[in-house]
């Protein structure tokens, strides 16, 4: 299970941003992840509070958006919805495809409580 170690690096990234903005607290963390990211959303949700305990992100809400698996078919020259273990083209059946989405694991944005309104101007 590497969700805890992943949460630690997530937290490092979040706290760095929070510090840059001199934030008092992190209230919301938005993540985008695909079924092929190798990360289990439920495990991540469980691990996050453990990693965040004692930091200004400890009461942050974790907002996870699951992305779809999509491939580009080199035969049809089109994108096509696919499944995690079905990455061939649903239209023509060709398996000469490139994954265009579904393996991402991205920290989209964070919401911060700021000390002073002026801190905003210095990202």
């Amino acid at each position: 299970m590497h969700e805890l170690s992943l949460c630690r690096s997530l937290l490092r990234q979040i706290l760095e941003v929070a510090e840059q903005h001199r934030a008092l607290a992190v209230t919301l963390v938005r993540l985008r992840m695909g079924p092929l990211s190798g990360v289990e959303a439920e495990l991540l949700k469980t691990a996050f509070p453990l990693a965040a305990a004692g930091t200004i992100a400890e009461s942050a809400e974790l907002d996870l958006t699951a992305t779809c698996v999509e491939v580009y078919c080199e035969n049809c020259w089109k994108n096509c919805r696919a499944g995690p273990n079905q990455l061939c083209c649903a239209r023509c059946g060709s398996c000469v495809t490139q994954l265009v989405s579904g393996d991402e694991l991205i920290l989209d944005s964070v919401e911060l409580t700021l000390d002073q309104p002026s801190a905003l101007q210095n990202p």
């Binding site: 190798g38 491939v71 989209d108």
Partner: protein, 250 residues
């Protein structure tokens, strides 16, 4: 102060407060990927080909390495990084063949990462190594997500695990540059494992990786595997701009 009961008082916030939404779009694996790129640069400048072996526990990674190194060490300078949760057992098996080996014990972590590998590299003289094999921790899930700086991934699937594993663990099998079907000598006893079915599941992942079936025990298929290794080594030496092959390869 009540640390124990958890009844923290009212939040100590005073003065004007504002909230801000900060857009980041950062890859969570970025830090590991940066380190992996750093490792890859070490490998490139030393002219070392790095092969990462992954599989479920017990699929035969160490057995394949033992069988491989016995032959390969006659023509190539090889070394091994052994990843394991506990114990030095696999490293001892490799050391018995007189091959330089570094054991990386991960403790509770179920995979190697670029930092662990980087630390281990300090124990090796890469310039003296043509091919470095990394045996990852036996696990079909986690190691797939962590780039170590390797050039190629080899995923082993033993015939006792069932031919459906590529469909069940797409994240892992998608990373394979070569799929090795291992323990081929056991095929008659298992009965229902079909190599063609395993390969079809792999193709469904849009993978064009070659498939080699072999047995470290009987030696069947080892020649084909060794040819593959030699070919990768030869190609990496050609692609590696301006880096001269070290003379001692003979």
């Amino acid at each position: 102060m009540c640390v124990d009961c958890g009844c923290s008082g009212p939040p100590e916030m005073s003065g004007p407060q504002k909230t801000a939404s900060v857009s980041l779009l950062q890859n969570l694996h970025q830090q590991n990927q940066n380190l992996a790129a750093h490792n890859r640069e070490h490998f490139r400048s030393a002219g070392t080909l790095v092969l990462n072996l992954m599989s479920s526990p017990g699929a035969g990674k160490t057995a394949l390495l033992e069988a491989t190194l016995r032959t390969l060490q006659k023509t190539c300078r090889c070394a091994v990084l052994e990843g394991d949760l506990e114990t030095e057992l696999d490293a001892q098996r490799i050391r018995a063949l007189n091959i330089p080996v570094i054991q990386i014990t991960t403790g509770s972590a179920c995979h190697l990462d670029a930092q662990l590998v980087h630390k281990a590299l300090h124990g090796l003289d890469l310039a003296e190594i043509d091919i470095l094999f990394i045996e990852n921790v036996g696990n079909l899930v986690c190691p797939a997500s962590f780039d170590l700086g390797q050039h190629l991934n080899i995923v082993l699937l033993s015939v006792t695990e069932g031919d459906d594993k590529p469909a069940k663990y797409p994240v892992m099998f998608r990373t394979a540059d070569l799929l090795v079907i291992s323990k081929l000598d056991l095929l008659p006893y298992v009965g229902d494992f079909r190599v063609d079915r395993a390969e079809n599941f792999l193709r469904t992942l849009a993978s064009r990786a070659p498939v080699i079936s072999l047995s470290a025990r009987s030696g069947a298929g080892l020649d084909e595997w060794l040819v593959w290794v030699h070919t990768q080594k030869a190609e990496s030496s050609v692609n590696k701009d301006m880096t001269v092959e070290h003379g001692g390869a003979g």
